[in-house]
Symmetry: C2
Subunit: 266 residues, 2 copies
């Protein structure tokens, strides 16, 4: 999958900021194919930067193939690469590959045992100072990285699988293979900015927007068996939630629609 | 609700970038209360900026009350303001107010009728050029803006309610009151950067990370009756998803756990 994020970024923090904001608007359809961008002067005013900076950002959009500029007719969107992000499947909590033939691979960035940080211990309901395995993996689809996953697993459970297992098998399967009886999970979804380390691992600019997902997985006793902190590139990954309106009268309400398919799930 | 995002930002795009990245790490617990930040030299290297820039970012964090600096002992997190974002309730798709007594209000930023943009018409399965009502609202909790909502509704439905209705009543209720029989919805969740207009409306810096939600609502015939493009401040709003592991053997899978409560849903 070609990615619009892999093209070179403009020089300078301000030009980069303008470039990233416009790229996001094109990527998520707020600026559609053929739409005109505001003029240089207007962009300069609204971003509070110079026209030179705007021109540098627009030139980078041209080089990325996202806009075309013509003397007299201004700048228009020409989104040749329509990104089609993969979706997360509710029934497996694993990224679902939208197109057949797309393969993902995980790369283990770090692997260590140590004390659980306070906020992890609290979320997992572990005693303070409990030893956990901390692993960071980057997952790629057809060579393009899309997720940066840091997982925390109590050492007593993690000793049942190896570093190599972790690079090749979903953690979730390793836990069940280790005899853990998974009962519940809680996901909290938000957004954050890419810091230097994560930006490098995901091949995006520092300061790019990332989808952020925290997941606590519990066994039947309520004990935390996994804490996941996942960061996802929004051009590569979305969370899809089909919902159905059920019940009658005042009891009518929304419920997640499991097993329903949506034709236009993008 | 006091917000850590409302404090003044440091001068300069690079210092702002460092400030926002560190603020995000503190807000979501990656840097916990009492944790030491890396030294100035290390931060300068990892962000690719000068030490002067790092010092300006750290000074802004001090002024925001997020860190304390002491000669000899470096910089430590002192997150006095623990943000407790509100959650979205699955059964109403409305923000759930975490604390009693917190009130939300909507402000109508714009209201117009016009042709549906192409990507909206496609998503709603409307004929190209169909007339829609386009409204933009900002919702605040106790005076702090948290969501920027742009909605598209076919003109034939929208004529059943007024501009004033829209500022005071959830759109969803207006649709049902207009005789629309809502059947299904599809939400797609991602992340994006705040552009100048949205940043101003939400009182955040340009280039802040926002949670982005697209929702298509359909009636029983499959026709689109509402398209929502929502942008949410991650320090004020999260999407919470409790999940249960159900079934046995190879059929064991995850399902959203409706009605379950989680003690530590933050």
């Amino acid at each position: 999958m070609d990615s619009i994020a892999a093209t070179p970024l403009p020089e300078g923090a301000k030009a980069r900021r303008v470039y990233l904001a416009l790229r996001d608007q094109i990527a998520d359809g707020r600026l559609g194919d053929g739409d005109s961008l505001p003029g240089e002067q207007q962009l300069a005013q609204s971003f509070g930067v110079s026209r030179v900076t705007v021109r540098r950002a627009l030139q980078a959009l041209v080089e990325a193939g996202l806009v075309v500029r013509r003397a007299g007719s201004g700048t228009r969107v020409s989104a040749a690469v329509q990104s089609r992000p993969m979706a997360m499947d509710f029934t497996t909590l694993m990224p679902q590959l939208v197109e057949m033939g797309q393969s993902t691979a995980a790369r283990l960035l770090s692997f260590a045992y140590g004390e659980a940080p306070d906020f992890i211990a609290r979320a997992m309901r572990l005693p303070a100072g409990e030893e956990v395995q901390i692993a960071t993996r980057v997952r790629s689809a057809d060579g393009t990285p899309f997720s940066h996953l840091t997982t925390y697993v109590p050492a007593g459970i993690a000793q049942n699988y190896s570093e190599n297992d972790l690079a090749t098998t979903p953690l979730f399967k390793l836990l069940e293979r280790s005899g853990v009886r998974i009962d519940a999970a809680h996901q909290s979804v938000s957004a954050t900015l890419a810091g230097p380390d994560v930006a490098e691992a995901l091949n995006v600019a520092v300061g790019s927007a990332l989808l952020s997902l925290k997941r606590v997985v519990r066994d039947e006793t309520g004990a935390g068996v996994e804490y996941l902190s996942g960061l996802y590139r929004p051009d590569m990954f979305r969370l899809e939630m089909p919902l159905a309106r059920v019940g009658t009268g005042p009891a009518r309400h929304w419920e997640p629609a499991i097993g329903r398919t949506e034709e236009d799930a993008s």
